[in-house]
Amino acid sequence: MTAIDILGLEKTYSVGFWRKKPKCALKPLHLRVEEGEIFGFLGPNGAGKTTTLKMLMGLVYPTAGSAQILGMDINDPRMKAQIGFLPEQPYFYDYLTAGELLNYYGQLSGVAPKERERKVREVLERVGLPDVSRVQLRKFSKGMLQRVGIAQAILHDPRIVFLDEPMSGLDPMGRREVRDLMEQLKHEGKTVFFSTHILSDAEALCDRVAIIHLGELQSVGAVADLTSSIEGKIELIWHGNKVPASMKSLGADCHVTGDTVRAVLLEGNQDAALEALRREQLRIVSLIPVRTSLEEYFVRKLQPSKAVAGVTQ
């Protein structure tokens, strides 16, 4: 079944003292996420990712459009019992201990009293915080808070997990662990919907991604499909330290290191480049294609509108 069905969700804020200036945070969005996939929601800061998530959580009301999760309405408590949410840079009641917090959330999510203690223990172990049950949250580091945040999101065994910037505040080890956790969730049959602006994570994890910019959906699809749509680049290495003048005009990115030159240029200019080198009688060391990263796709796709980007908040 469709895990998340977004039908024209739109949000416009009225800004200014007399509430006259409309500011569009999200243009009408249409999106479907299937059960069991890891879906990445990508975009620069201020693109509308958090706004979308808040509307899905029922924290903000849309100006137009609607959405359904697991076929049920956003305000339906039955639906909410089956989802988990980790907000961006979460903050929790700092007067509680980790165990008390998770127990409280368990109560609110309807976890049976007999099971709560066990589940709290299990989930803390799972996020790598086995010994902190009695420690007050005010003593936690940012990374620990992030893990607690993930813990509360999966405590009640939800079918879908929504994560807003789950890697923020984590060191590389932590990020690795979270990535592994997300993979595990997928293997358990859960759906993971997460937003991020760290593209390498998305590339490694996601089945599909959506890219959003300035409140507008730019593209949706599997990573491979998206990156393959961009014209590839090649890396060309030759002996010597001479860079033919024509290389520059081909838009090549050249670096001289000792006795070799390394240049990266568009695949389409391959023949012209080889021709230039042959004319100068420079010896080619290697010619290999460079894999287009999602970042490349990102930068290329969003480049023109960056000039018009303006204020991001």
Binding site: G58, G65, S66, I74
Partner: protein, 309 residues
């Protein structure tokens, strides 16, 4: 994906119901508590302590107490004598909180000093109050007037009354009546003219409606006393002349003793009784009269003061 309609309707309906209920309950509570707020002044044994506890907002507190008192006393027709219990503590508290609230001292002279049912019958307390007022407002001629008023009417101490008026007469800005009053006090006698002068002055110099109404009632009473004395004298004169009592005022008119049918200050004609006495038609409307009441007449518990416009 919008605010739940069910919640909106339920909460709005509940809100309206609670609002209505709260208004109805408030009216009920007010009925149960009439006057209770004011009765609390009976528990304030130390006005100075209250002043200190008011943390500098004593002016506002004085105004609140005074306004409560005015509303409360405006209702006195329904209360009978009870409200006089509150008068002394009320005046003392109000003047402690705000010693410059001159109308409070006026109330002391007009309603605290006189005997029941006109007042609370506490002239000595009223004297203390007036003296407190003079200490705090030494240049207000009206306070000396109030003091002399109490000595004259309620204690009949003409010497002290004269001193009060004389002191007041010495003030840089005083009323022309003060030296006149001082002189009259020196005559050591209370007569209708002096009394009338006093009440006229009170009527002209007060701003308070209750005090005005009281003064008008007293002036009416003085007029009635004078009229009845005069008319009864005429009746005796008639009897001496003719050997029998007049049947009506027309007889007196015919004998050239009277011009027109006499009426009291309220416009009702006097009644000429068969035994030669003169009575007023509606004694309940004329409180404080000493003459012209029917035999065995018992005045109402609360004097009925004339309405003030």
């Amino acid at each position: 994906m919008s605010p739940s309609r069910r919640i909106t309707i339920t909460a709005s309906a509940l809100l309206v119901m609670c609002l209505t209920a709260s208004v109805l309950l408030l009216r009920q509570i007010d009925r149960e508590r009439t006057g209770t707020t004011l009765e609390e002044v009976l528990y304030i044994s130390s006005p100075t302590l209250l002043k200190r506890m008011s943390l500098g907002y004593d002016g506002l507190l004085a105004d609140i107490y005074w306004t409560r008192a005015v509303q409360y006393f405006g209702d006195k027709l329904t209360r009978g004598s009870e409200h006089f219990d509150l008068l002394a503590p009320l005046l003392e508290i109000t003047t402690t909180l705000d010693p410059h609230l001159l109308v409070a001292y006026e109330y002391g002279a007009n309603f605290l000093a006189p005997k029941f049912p006109e007042g609370a019958g506490q002239p000595l307390r009223a004297i203390k109050l007036a003296e407190f007022g003079i200490r705090n407002n030494p240049n207000q001629w009206h306070l000396y007037y109030d003091l002399g008023f109490i000595y004259y009417f309620d204690l009949e101490d003409y010497a002290k009354a004269e001193k009060a008026f004389a002191d007041g007469a010495k003030l840089p800005r005083t009323h022309q009546i003060m030296p006149i009053m001082a002189a009259k006090m020196a005559e050591h006698v209370g007569n209708i003219q002096t009394a009338r002068l006093m009440w006229v002055t009170t009527l002209q110099t007060t701003l308070d409606p209750n005090v005005k109404a009281n003064a008008v009632a007293h002036l009416n009473a003085l007029q009635v006393d004078e009229d009845v004395t005069t008319l009864e004298r005429l009746t005796s004169h008639y009897r001496e002349k003719t050997g029998h009592l007049p049947q009506s005022f027309a007889d007196l008119e015919a004998a050239n003793l009277l011009r027109g049918i006499p009426t009291d200050p309220l416009g009702h004609t006097y009644k000429l009784m068969p035994d030669g006495r003169v009575e007023v038609r509606v004694p309940d409307d004329l409180p404080f009269i000493e003459k012209g009441t029917p035999i065995g007449y018992i005045p109402p518990r609360t004097p009925k003061l004339p309405p003030v416009n």
